[in-house]
Symmetry: none
Subunit: 208 residues, 4 copies
DNA sequence: TATGAATGAGATTTCATTCAT
DNA sequence: AATGAATGAAATCTCATTCAT
């Protein structure tokens, strides 16, 4: 607003000036607040009021960083999708050997960890995606990517009635849902028990 | 499923007078309209206006039969939960014999049929349940009941690392999700292929 | 109230045919119901629904006998105003003699009786009158008539500072309000105590 | 009454920042507008639309300061009740001496002044109270307090048939009603005439 | 004469977004 | 960069009255 501020000018200037630092901090506060609010109320029921209250700032400030409620949601989805992509890139080849099982177990543990952190957003984008929201689609594409990676990686032996694409999708969604029930406390089980069971079911399904 | 449903017959008044009949028909129109609208927009985004438009009646009439949008949703959930309960009651014992597999396949087919009819509502109540709505919980309890019934029925052999409760929940949610992807057209596969794969994965998981 | 009332007498036809009798009974039911509902909720808050429910009939029937909610209220007001007019006509001359006091006491007792019966309507028309309703004015005119009659009757001695019109209005409204507090249970006192006090205050005010 | 009212100063936040000041001004505008609208239409018939129109703001702003129409009414009642309490506290002892009569007359004048200012609200809360509204009760408690204070203060000589509680309630309601008829223009009399008459009637009733 | 379903205008309330400071 | 007041479009819900039977 004040004419002597060159701050806003520079989309060309990378200097982490103190002013920019403050702004970045505020933006981060909104992202955190958004994660909390979307997780507890869902995309539609979440109010900008709620986000502003949790972030302990003002309405005006919100629209300084995000063009709309959906924009905030998109930003969060992008963040999570990045993490999922890393997982996809790291999916180990699935083998029926002790080390192969260990690698799968390890990978499932990483997935569970991510889910514990971002599950709420993932569940929210499922809602968004079901009803035509663009950002929900982007998020779910990432999840779908996991299944695709599995399909490519698993080398399911061609047995009668076991379509690799369907099977891997089935298994991947199973993993997701079990983590969901665990994360929401609806499934009372230790992480170890869950991992053991999932590894076992996947292995059993894939290797004869 | 059974054509003669006596459940809806006597809500408060026993007289099947012709006047009452008209009201019952209108109420049914709202239920149908609700199913359509909730399915396409979700619980929050759905407007009473939309329901009224689809049912081709008036605002006032809506509130004659339902006290709110949520009330309509509850009624739909109750309807679907009843159907799910029938399925729960009919889950066959799972055996690794040709006839056992056939029974399982048959049952999965019935589930898929129900899902095709009511999947939209089920998906919507997942949304509702995630964010604290009571009726969503009621619906999901019904789904959870399926898993519980499976746990009771499946007689999963105690193998190291295979907890029956976790396993059956995992398998049941897998079934639900695969049907979801199929119903929404995200999984391109024939019903037969899907059923074969599911039977196979379940059998493999359960019988060593 | 009694079925043999030829009062409403037939615009064209006098025969108390059975059909007409039924109609008259229904109309009476609405009047009773209206008295109850208006008394407990007031003119604005009272719903035609409530009246219909109390009368245990139908919406359609209501509009067969009254053109609107206000019409019903008007009819009730007219009924009460008639009774008040009788009282006005019977106001005894007020004298400071034992028999004069007894006559006043007797008359106040009749007023109290009427108030117990119709006080709710009187209170309601006060509401109506305050905010411009025509029927409220008609009702209050009747009450005002009482004060006017008193002014004419009391023969207040011209003392300095005692304007007869103001004094009689003051006394009459006092009577009305005390009956109101008694009727609503806000004043805990026997009828005798109330009458004694009112007679005493009026006499004291009027006669020296 | 006192020019420096610290009551309204610090609602929740102590900072008298210029921003807060604007909000306080807007809230005050709604209170004024409410007084006008309730006075002319009553509690039920008054529309939030009317209040918003008189205050010349927006619907949204209204709900920023009051949770509902009733909330606004409550706030107004609280305001008036505070003023009435001051009057109660200031009721002079009633003595049959020139100075005692003068004090009573003075006090009645203050009551009349208050009634001219807030009579509309008082009349409205009578409506509310009659039909079960909580805030109406609170307001009328204040009026009742006046009678109670009178009972305590007046020292009506115990004469046969003159119950002090009934008498003071009778006299107080008379005062209120006469002011009502005066304020609404139904009683054509100068303030002096009214005061003289009221003092006279009260004195006559109390002192034999 | 009576019923009860249906209507629709109008009221209340919410909330994403903009604006003045 | 930030604040918080204000806006107004759109949603929910109510209820006096009409209509078909």
């Amino acid at each position: 607003m004040t004419p002597a501020q060159p701050t806003e000018a520079a989309p060309t200037d990378d200097l982490p000036s103190p002013l920019r630092a403050r702004g970045r901090r505020t933006r981060a506060r909104f992202l955190e607040a958004g994660a909390i609010v979307f997780a507890s109320k869902g995309l539609h029921a979440a109010r900008v009021d709620d986000v502003v209250a949790v972030a302990d700032t003002s309405h005006g400030a919100f629209y300084l960083y995000f063009s709309s409620k959906e924009d905030l949601f998109d930003s969060l989805v992008a963040e999570v999708a990045d993490h999922l992509q890393e997982l996809i890139d790291d999916l180990p080849p699935i083998r029926d050997t002790p080390s192969g099982r260990a690698a799968l177990r390890e990978w499932l543990a990483r997935f569970a960890e991510l889910y514990e952190l971002y599950g709420a957003i993932i569940r929210t984008w499922t809602e968004a995606e079901l009803f035509g929201d663009r950002s929900g689609q982007r998020g779910n594409d990432a999840l779908g990517g996991l299944a695709a990676a599995m399909t490519a990686n698993i080398r399911i032996p061609k047995r009668s009635g076991l379509d690799p694409a369907i099977a891997s999708l089935a298994l991947m969604t199973m993993v997701e849902r079990v983590n969901y029930y665990t994360a929401t406390g609806q499934l009372q089980a230790t992480a170890d028990e869950v991992l053991d069971t999932l590894v076992d079911v996947i292995a059993a399904a894939v290797f004869r």
